[in-house]
């Protein structure tokens, strides 16, 4: 298969970016999207040009590192996958493909297609945990959890922190990301103890870091590679309002 690629190039955080056009041919339809970019980079290196910089690591859809905005969609034209799981068979021979970095105020571009998503870690550091240290915990089976809540918690806990929800949101909101962590812990007895403080601290941090507000467009749910649902945002709102009323720690 042959493709024309329009790729965002930007030397560093301060430089002005631009689209560059590249041609690539003889790509197997079984090839993954990132392997296609690997092949492009090999041709660039052979010409002593600077290869295209993009984040990637596990290449099996779980580390959350890959982050390409392909033809106007985070992780490209397939559902429930990350960029590294996208295969060229999803495109037509001769297609022109536009590749951009995640774009959000809270995710500044580092170089080319690589962005800084440190803000997501900062939100977790503000409260996305059960405040315990190692040792002194009870026997695992002394904390029974209903299968239903355990399954719902797992649904939410599957978030890989890739930031597709932020990239696709017209407000660049991190609501789905925050909602996934708040839900995961609020659904479990272990997380209930400090649920009120957690939600207030995480939401406050999200706002501080320049993420936008949620206007319920649902784009995040549509593009989430792990199918995290909007129900979690509803649960986050419920937890937030409840905490706002009952907690001494005001937002």
């Amino acid at each position: 298969m042959d493709f024309t690629l329009k790729i965002w190039r930007q030397e560093n955080a301060k430089a002005k970016g631009r689209f560059e056009t590249y041609k690539i041919s003889n790509i197997s339809s079984d090839c993954s999207f990132l392997e296609m970019l690997d092949q492009l980079n090999e041709t660039l290196v052979d010409k002593i040009e600077i290869p295209i910089c993009f984040d990637h690591d596990c290449r099996e859809g779980i580390c959350g590192m890959c982050s390409l905005y392909i033809n106007g969609r985070p992780h490209g034209p397939d559902d429930d996958i990350t960029t590294c799981q996208l295969h060229m068979r999803k495109f037509k021979d001769g297609d022109t493909i536009t590749i951009e970095p995640w774009r959000a105020k809270a995710f500044p571009v580092i170089k080319d297609l690589m962005v800084d998503r440190n803000a997501l870690d900062k939100i977790i550091q503000a409260g996305g945990y059960v405040s315990i240290s190692t040792g002194g915990v009870p026997d695992a089976n002394s904390i029974p959890v209903s299968k239903k809540n355990s399954d719902l918690a797992m649904d939410a806990a599957q978030c890989i922190g890739c930031g597709a929800c932020v990239a696709t949101c017209k407000n660049a909101s991190a609501m789905l990301f925050v909602a996934a962590k708040v839900s995961h812990l609020a659904l479990l007895p272990q997380g209930k103890v400090e649920a009120k403080e957690r939600v207030l601290r995480m939401v406050r941090k999200m706002d501080e870091l320049g993420f936008g507000n949620c206007t319920n467009t649902g784009a995040c749910e549509a593009e989430c590679p792990k199918s995290i649902t909007l129900t979690n945002i509803a649960r986050l709102n419920r937890e937030f309002i409840f905490a706002g009323i009952l907690s001494e720690d005001k937002y």
């Binding site: 030397e11 560093n12 090839c31 993954s32 990132l34 690997d38 090999e42 660039l44 290196v45 052979d46 002593i48 040009e49 290869p51 910089c53 990637h56 690591d57 596990c58 290449r59 859809g61 779980i62 580390c63 959350g64 590192m65 996958i81 799981q85 295969h87 068979r89 580092i110 170089k111 800084d116 998503r117 440190n118 997501l120 870690d121 977790i124 550091q125 945990y129 059960v130 315990i132 240290s133 190692t134 915990v137 009870p138 026997d139 695992a140 089976n141 904390i143 029974p144 959890v145 209903s146 299968k147 355990s150 918690a153 797992m154 890989i160 922190g161 995961h184 479990l188 272990q190 997380g191």
Partner: protein
């Protein structure tokens, strides 16, 4: 010269760890605040060690190469984590988990370390549940278990097919808590380039900031390497693209020994290779072997028809199928350990019964499980794995059997450590997959997660503290010491040296060449000839690498080719280590199969009289190394030949 002292505590096996803890030296809280610890790597071992040592009061600095600590490749572990809880009441115990691990490792692991691992396994599950890790549960609200290879009990805790993810996110949450408390400082997008030794002790590291390109100095009273394994030497493996063995190789060049490098785990159930452009292989969890049955056609002509797509797998009659694991190993069937399953698949494919385009694949079939349990149950158990398979291969595994083939997955060998997880360099520790300690010659499924977390949560916090008790008066280590100057200069010279080659070949082209040689000559079947040949090739690759390498750009800012170049240069050393160790070990054990050493039935044949030792290699200059032996003594287990029939 260095002698290998494993520092195993005296006393009965079951009292060794308790005894150690009772007599270890402690550091009081105000003194802990005066002591710095560096941890490299944020996988299960690194994150759990950092959060534990941080909570104790030490000043911890932790480093990772990715943009966030949550990306470490522990995240990709699928199947589960073992523990001796005996919740299913099926006869499990600490002793049984210890026994299975020693046996699974083909009697090449240290008894005392493995017993401690089994002992703390239960604490890990308690800790993770308290953190909110959503393990699978029964309707009554209690934890569910499943079986894994090499065990006859159900002792594996799991969170769907994403156990590694959930455990890592648990450790990451504990780490985040300590970062918020100010006890741990996080440094992302940093790659360790060297370890700094002052007066014979590890006192810091040199890192490259992967964004700015700056070379930074960081000092501490102790350094922990939790940097994972070396599977990517093979280029194609189930490891992540950034997983590398450079930290281990830097430590090796500074005097740490590397033990048993030949023990590489080839995992039987991976998606087969399909093209030259391929960058990695994807694992299909071992848990699938609970319900999937592995087979190839009985007749060569059927295999050929399937390869040429003239016959569909599902149309082949039951009596024409060879369920070769069930046939060869009736007691364990499809749940034999990984090394055994991998070799059996290779044997069938080499004999001409393989399927897929290349003939290098076997079927993993769920038809009978779907008939027995229904599609819903299978979907609930393995839904995400089936989806992953379909996205890659473009075939529906509910309708057609999966095709799988072995691939490099995990490395049992690694940095030599004593009972305290300290390397041969005082103050330098290695944890998780980076060390060699607990899995012998073959790791059992669901034991990597257990070991990583055992080291980080429950072993290092004790042993590192014991060492640091002698450092309470040392004061902060200065980064302006001449040793730091020298180490930084060496790193800068090395990078400039690679950039100034200005040849014509990319880093990846060398890595692929190295990987192919490893797979073909130092892979699942090894012979004296293949290994000797490989060593000649590696020498040649190293020479050409230093003449023909081409890296565009400079040392400033992001330079992805430069990052890969130092790693590949280190892979060449690791390739020689693996191969030299494999050549020296003229026996078959676990993941190391010397074709010269097999039984008439083609099973691995150990040579306990000559090789019941840990082979630890000391660096003696480029391409040179000497062997030190640590004898293995089995006082609590009768050494037998491993039998899964």
């Amino acid at each position: 010269m260095t002698t290998l002292n494993s520092k195993i505590p005296k006393g009965q096996l079951e009292n060794k760890w308790t005894g150690y803890k009772a007599s270890q030296n402690l550091v009081n809280p105000p003194n802990k605040r005066k002591i710095d610890v560096i941890i490299v790597g944020t996988g299960l071992a690194g994150s759990s060690a950092a959060s534990s040592l941080g909570a104790m009061g030490f000043n911890v600095k932790i480093f990772c190469i990715q943009d966030s600590p949550r990306r470490a490749h522990s995240i990709a572990a699928q199947g589960g984590i073992n523990a001796a809880k005996n919740y299913p009441n099926d006869g499990d115990s600490v002793y049984r988990l210890f026994y299975d691990t020693i046996k699974g490792g083909d009697y090449r692991a240290r008894e005392a370390n493995v017993y401690r691992l089994a002992e703390v396994s239960n604490n890990i599950i308690d800790q993770c549940v308290a953190q909110g890790v959503p393990f699978a549960r029964e309707y009554g609200g209690l934890l569910d278990n499943r079986s894994f290879g090499g065990a006859q009990v159900s002792r594996t805790f799991y969170a769907r097919g994403q156990t590694g993810q959930q455990l890592l996110l648990g450790a990451y949450s504990a780490l985040s808590y300590e970062i918020n408390n100010g006890n741990v400082q996080m440094f992302t997008r940093r790659e360790m380039m060297d370890v700094v030794i002052v007066d014979g002790k590890a006192r810091g590291i040199i890192v490259r900031n992967l964004i700015t390109g700056d070379i930074e100095r960081h000092s501490a009273h102790a350094v922990v390497l939790a940097t994972g394994g070396y599977g990517n030497v093979y280029f194609l493996s189930t490891n992540a693209m950034n997983s590398n063995c450079s930290a281990a190789i830097q430590a090796w060049r500074k005097g740490a020994f590397i033990a048993n490098p030949a023990y590489v785990q080839i995992h039987p159930t991976c998606i087969p290779v399909h093209g030259d452009y391929q960058s990695k292989l994807t694992l299909m969890s071992e848990s699938l072997r609970n319900d999937g049955r592995i087979w190839v056609p009985k007749k060569k002509e059927d295999a050929e028809k399937i390869r040429n797509k003239q016959l569909k797998a599902k149309d082949l009659k039951e009596e024409d199928r060879d369920y070769f694991l069930e046939r060869r190993y009736p007691a364990f069937g499809n749940l034999v350990p990984r090394d055994v399953a991998s070799r059996a698949a290779k044997e069938r494919c080499d004999a001409g019964f393989g399927v897929g385009n290349t003939g290098l694949a076997v079927f993993l079939d769920f038809a009978s499980a779907i008939n027995r349990l229904g599609k819903n149950v299978i979907e609930e158990r393995y839904g995400n794995l089936f989806q992953m398979y379909e996205k890659i291969v473009d075939e529906n595994p509910y309708q057609n059997p999966m095709m799988i083939y072995p691939a490099v997955h995990y490395t049992m060998g690694g940095i030599w450590v004593d009972y305290e997880l300290m390397t041969t360099i005082p103050g330098l520790y290695a944890a998780g997959e980076a060390n060699f300690s607990d899995h012998g010659a073959n790791r059992l499924g669901a034991s990597a997660l257990m070991q990583g977390l055992a080291d980080g949560y429950f072993v290092l916090p004790y042993t590192v503290q014991n060492y640091l008790s002698s450092d309470i008066k040392t004061g902060a280590i200065s980064t302006t010491l001449p040793e730091f100057d020298a180490a930084e200069k060496a790193v800068k010279d090395r990078l400039q040296g690679l950039l100034s080659i200005k040849g014509k070949r990319s880093v990846d082209s060398f890595h692929k060449e190295l990987g192919k040689t490893m797979w073909n000559h130092v892979g699942m079947g090894r012979t004296k000839e293949s290994l000797e040949k490989a060593l000649v090739v590696f020498k040649d690759i190293r020479e050409r690498f230093h003449k023909e390498l081409l890296i565009p750009g400079t040392t400033e800012g992001v330079n992805i080719e430069l990052e890969k170049a130092t790693r590949v240069e280190d892979y060449i050393d690791m390739a020689e280590l693996i191969t030299t160790d494999a050549l020296t070990r003229n026996e078959s054990c676990g993941g190391h199969f010397r074709e010269e050493s097999q039984t008439e039935e083609g099973e691995a044949k150990r040579d306990d009289a000559n090789y019941m030792y840990v082979g630890a290699w000391e660096y003696k200059g480029t391409g040179e190394m000497t062997l030190h032996k640590e004898d293995l003594n089995y006082e609590n287990i009768e050494v037998k030949s491993r039998n899964y029939k």
